[in-house]
Amino acid sequence: MNAPLDLATTPGIAGNFGVVAGQEPVLTARNVSITYEVEPPVHAVRNVSLTLHRGEILGLAGESGCGKSTLAYGVNQLLKPPALMRSGDVIFHDQSGKDIDVVGLKGDALRAFRWDKISMVFQGAMNSLNPVITVRSQLFDVFTTHRPGMSKKEKEERSSELLRQVGVDPSRLDSFAHQLSGGMRQRVMIAMALALNPQVMIMDEPTTALDVVVQRGILRELMRLRETFGFAVIFITHDLPLLLEISDRIAVMLRGEIVELNTAANIYANPQHEYTQRLLGSFPSLTGDRGAFIRTGEAI
């Protein structure tokens, strides 16, 4: 918690990108294997190990079907049948110093853990927000479930504060999901994810459906919030240029395995795995030389 705040007061350190202060782990996944139990079984995640450090943004890059979302859902115990985590450990290193075995959590303990320690932001905000109740009721629900002691006034204050933090006018508390634009919905989702001050936020393609300008606003907000609150982020997307811009480290997934994991700078400057190179090559440079990307019209 302290390290990122220190960063905030020493802007010079921002140039030292990719190196995360402390390198203290907040979430460790070891040898995670997840299978879709269908005929024949599909091994969506194969023996993946991953360490998330406190306060870092870890990009999880890959294309559809590579298992990146399955992995993220798995570490938060959100898998639905027919997906099943067949093996592996997920350890959450709480700020209090206590280690929590996430895989072993069940029932109430799991419900109390989820959202409080690890929260999620999903791609389809329209589907993730309840269409028939207001933003206020949805935020209140979070507090009622996880902070039963809070008074109504406290909830109201905290909800307004959360919306302000994500750049949405608190008057929007009375709105329903359909009254909000796509970008605002996603901001509200982030506010809900922030509600309990989680130490880890998993974001599954949070900006894929949005326009670039709106996306830029949300990314900026995310960066700011990360500096303020020091949570770690697992940012899942297929948009490698975006990850290169915002992540500290990037893991590239292919066929259920992490084929390359390195700092964003290294991935960009010196990609090792052939697939990473291929992925990088799939994004023509906006302002660079036309070089290899001039339309060739060649047979592929």
């Binding site: 139990e37 269908v38 991953l50 079907g65 049948p81 099943l84």
Partner: protein, 349 residues
Amino acid sequence: MADEDIRESLIAVQATGAGTADAVAIDESTAVTAPDRASRFIRAVRFVRRSPKFALGAGIVLAIVLFAIFGPMLTQNPKFSGNEALQPPSTDHWLGTTGLGYDMLAQLAYGARGSLIIGVVVAAIAVSLSVLFGVVGGYLGGWTDEILSLITNIMLVIPGLPLIIVISGYMDGRTVWFVAFVLGLTAWAGSAVVLRLQARSLRNRDYVAAARVSGEKAFRIVFVEIMPNLLPLFAAQFLFAMVFAILGEAGLSYLGLGATGSITWGTILNDAQVGMALTRDAWWWFVPPGVLIALVGGGLSLINFSIDEIINPKLRAAPAAVKSVRKARKTVLKDDHAGTAGTTVKVDA
């Protein structure tokens, strides 16, 4: 909804054909490998075979249909009144005789024929009308749609059975076809509303726009591009209309407003009521037709439920998925006990 479809299909790709899907994502190999020759239809048939609901429903309906086809060939004339009246079941008359001395089994067999014919005719009329008013209106939109849906809504709010009673009351000689026509006329509106909404949603699909850009005419778009995707819905509506018709006809006949001179399960019940079967303890007179009506209704509904599961895969996929995971978890636990797991290697940098 569309989003969900895509998601569903993506998950399906992940879950079912991941081998090929992966290869494609990585290498987009242009050669198509691993043929999946099973068409949609064959997969539906395969599913249906495994579904106990469908098997039971189809079994019941098939048995009754066979009874309706072959029963009348094996029994005596249902209007032969030379038998002794009101006999309980015996070896001569397996289901006894009615108050007028008719053989119950013969009555029942001819009644099955009458009831099923009415069911099929009504269902055909209802589905045709709902296609006309629903699909055509939904696709064309504009004034055509306004007028067609106005008529649909009027038909929807007119209470069906009272209307039939009123119409039937005015007609003296009522043929089976007339009754079927009246029932058909009141049975389509609900289906048309559903079809109209479906057609409106399909109309905005890109493949319909693509067909228009290709130069396809509206008529062909409705019948070749849109309708096939509604087939499961038609099947469900057909069966539903059949149940409605058989029950409706039984109700009409019981009230004495059925087809004159014909035999259906409804007319048998009407005869039983007029002949005071209940007070005379002649249970064999009214129980068999009642049971058959219930059976055919139940059987058709069971088939309908299994069609629902084809239309909406979630209804069957979720329980099946839970089951497979439970099974897999057991085997994982077994492995754990055997001590194969437990080695942890930190690969991470």
